[in-house]
Amino acid sequence: MITKQDVELAGKLAKMTVSEQEAAIYEEQLRALFGWVKELSAVNTDNVQLSNATLAAHVRKDQAVTDEQAAANLRAMFAEQLAGQAKVKKVL
């Protein structure tokens, strides 16, 4: 069952503001749509090979991956740092 939180999360992942009013509309409409999509589960796809096997490599991560060590290594390359930020040369 799709919830308003699912709609808000998808909006966040898509980097797009979704208003309260829009979220309410989408929640109802997506529930109907994904209910319809569930009909696909009636089709047996056990032995189906995709024409493009590389598609499986394109799964979108639900949240940004953060690697603190990688960030620290990058910051260490700069002479000046402040509040976890590296200072770069002024260009403007």
Binding site: A10, L13, K15, V43, V59, K61
Partner: protein, 471 residues
């Protein structure tokens, strides 16, 4: 005027290209305020192009195969120096930096690009009601939609504002409006026409198509714009036939597939006309063969998952930095993206959300991957069917044109408007809608032929014969 009449008039000297262009500009000026099919008319450019064609003729130079033929282009097809907005406020001020291959090919054959036509925002819709620049009215009944998403192109041709127009078809967006407006609409098989310079919606389904007054005109334009393009790696390397030379004297020996149960649940008038079309084809010599495409009924849910997932990726570029509207009051980068992308209309945002949700790791297997696998099976079903038959006959859509504003509360019913056409995009097939009679309200009915990839000549020939008996 048909394309052949225009070319004959220009080559024989009874009309100049400028006179022809001015005639169509006058038609647009007269009808567009009521119909809203064009979002911009390239008046000065079109007249300059027409004058250049007349000058070419005066110098005794050979004219192109579409010399002096005015063409409307859907607002998602790039023409350098001209706006291309996808009828979205997101691209309100976008001017094309280069020319699409299809427009380049038309210009090389001396066609006149007369303006850009209205469409559903980013081609997402089947009624042209999601356009940021206003709804298009169906010339057959001004209270009704023209279909979509190429509703502007279909209405422009139907109203005689232009003899031919380009559209794009991701789930039926050329064929369904053609059926609603009573014109011919061709979607080639996947890879037949270059998409270089066509703004992407769903890359595994998008195709450029042609809307015209008749099958011959559509075929003449198809000949010009089809073919391999080095700029589009999905375009196929295969010779382009002279489609009109494949028109046969009758349909003897042609096997027409009639899908099992294909008329179940249809509007009675559409059911009657499609049955009548099958009878007419038989009278013309065709052999009718029942074919079983059991999984075709799953095309629509597959279509909405796959195309929305692809759209969520393709439309990621509209972030206010690379492309699109730039938010003025943002505080920080995340806020900047979110506010800029909020410029999309309600339907586009919804499709992005559907696609993003279907691609989340929790939903990927049960939604996106499942839809891809079912698509493979549907393609196999069609492949098997085409070992038995040359073309497949279906209705173009389950209903005739509905009232403006109708079905807005129930978007699922709008999605069902693509039921008969999205099978062609899921299968990668060639498809054509040809007008065949009217319903009890005088609204046009379209019937559709499907054909295998790279065999557009088969559907054009079948449609050519059906068009003759319909007239």
């Amino acid at each position: 005027m048909t394309i052949s009449q225009i070319i004959t008039a220009i080559t024989s000297g009874t009309k100049t290209a400028e006179e022809i262009t001015r005639y169509y500009l006058a038609q647009i000026a007269d009808k567009n305020p009521q119909i809203n099919a064009f979002v911009e008319v390239f008046e000065a450019d079109a007249i300059a192009q027409a004058k250049a064609i007349d000058a070419k003729k005066a110098r005794g130079e050979k004219l192109g195969s579409l010399a002096g033929v005015p063409v409307g282009i859907k607002d998602n097809i790039l023409y350098k120096g001209h706006k291309a907005t996808c009828c979205s406020k997101m691209l309100e001020n976008y001017t094309a930096a280069y020319t699409s291959t299809v427009v380049k090919k038309l210009l090389e054959q001396d066609a006149v690009i007369i303006g850009r036509t209205n469409m559903d925002e980013f081609a997402m819709g089947s009624s042209n009601q999601t356009s940021a620049w206003g709804v298009v009215h169906n010339p057959a009944d001004m209270t009704r939609v023209p279909g979509g998403s190429s509703g502007g192109s279909a209405a422009a041709v139907a109203a005689g504002m232009v003899p031919v127009a380009l559209g794009t078809d991701t789930g039926g967006s050329v064929r369904q409006p053609a059926g609603f407006c009573g014109v011919v609409g061709v979607k080639p098989g996947y890879g037949r026409i270059s998409r270089y310079g066509v703004i992407a919606f769903a890359s595994s389904a998008d195709q450029v198509g042609v809307l015209a007054e008749n099958v011959t005109d559509a075929s003449l334009v198809m000949e010009v714009i089809s073919g391999k393009d080095a700029q589009d790696s999905t375009s196929l390397e295969a010779p382009v036939p002279h489609y009109t030379q494949h028109f046969t004297a009758d349909l003897k020996g042609v096997k027409v597939g009639v899908p099992k149960g294909f008329l179940d649940g249809l509007n009675p008038a559409i059911k009657k006309q499609t049955q009548k079309a099958a009878e007419q084809l038989k009278e013309l010599g065709a052999e009718l063969i029942e074919v079983d495409i059991p999984l075709a009924k799953y095309s629509a849910p597959c279509y909405y998952i796959i195309t929305s997932a692809e759209a969520s990726s393709n439309l990621g570029r509209y972030d206010g930095i690379r492309y699109g509207y730039t938010a003025k009051d943002a505080n920080g980068l995340a806020d900047y993206y979110e506010k800029s992308r909020a410029r999309f209309g309600l339907e586009v945002k919804k499709r992005i959300i559907i696609g993003t949700y279907a691609l989340t790791s929790e939903r990927y297997e049960e939604c996106f991957l499942k839809a891809l696998k079912v698509r493979e099976l549907i393609r196999e079903d069609f492949k098997k069917a085409f070992t038995q038959v040359d073309v497949i006959l279906t209705p173009t859509s389950p209903t005739t044109a509905f009232k403006i504003g109708e079905a807005e509360e129930n978007p699922l019913s709008l999605y069902l408007a693509d039921l008969c056409t999205c099978q062609g995009n899921i299968g990668g097939l060639a498809g054509i809608s040809v007008p065949f009679g009217k319903d009890e309200n005088g609204l046009p009915i379209g019937v559709q032929f499907y054909g295998p990839i790279l065999q557009e000549e088969k559907i054009l020939n079948a449609a050519y014969h059906l068009e003759k008996v319909a007239k």
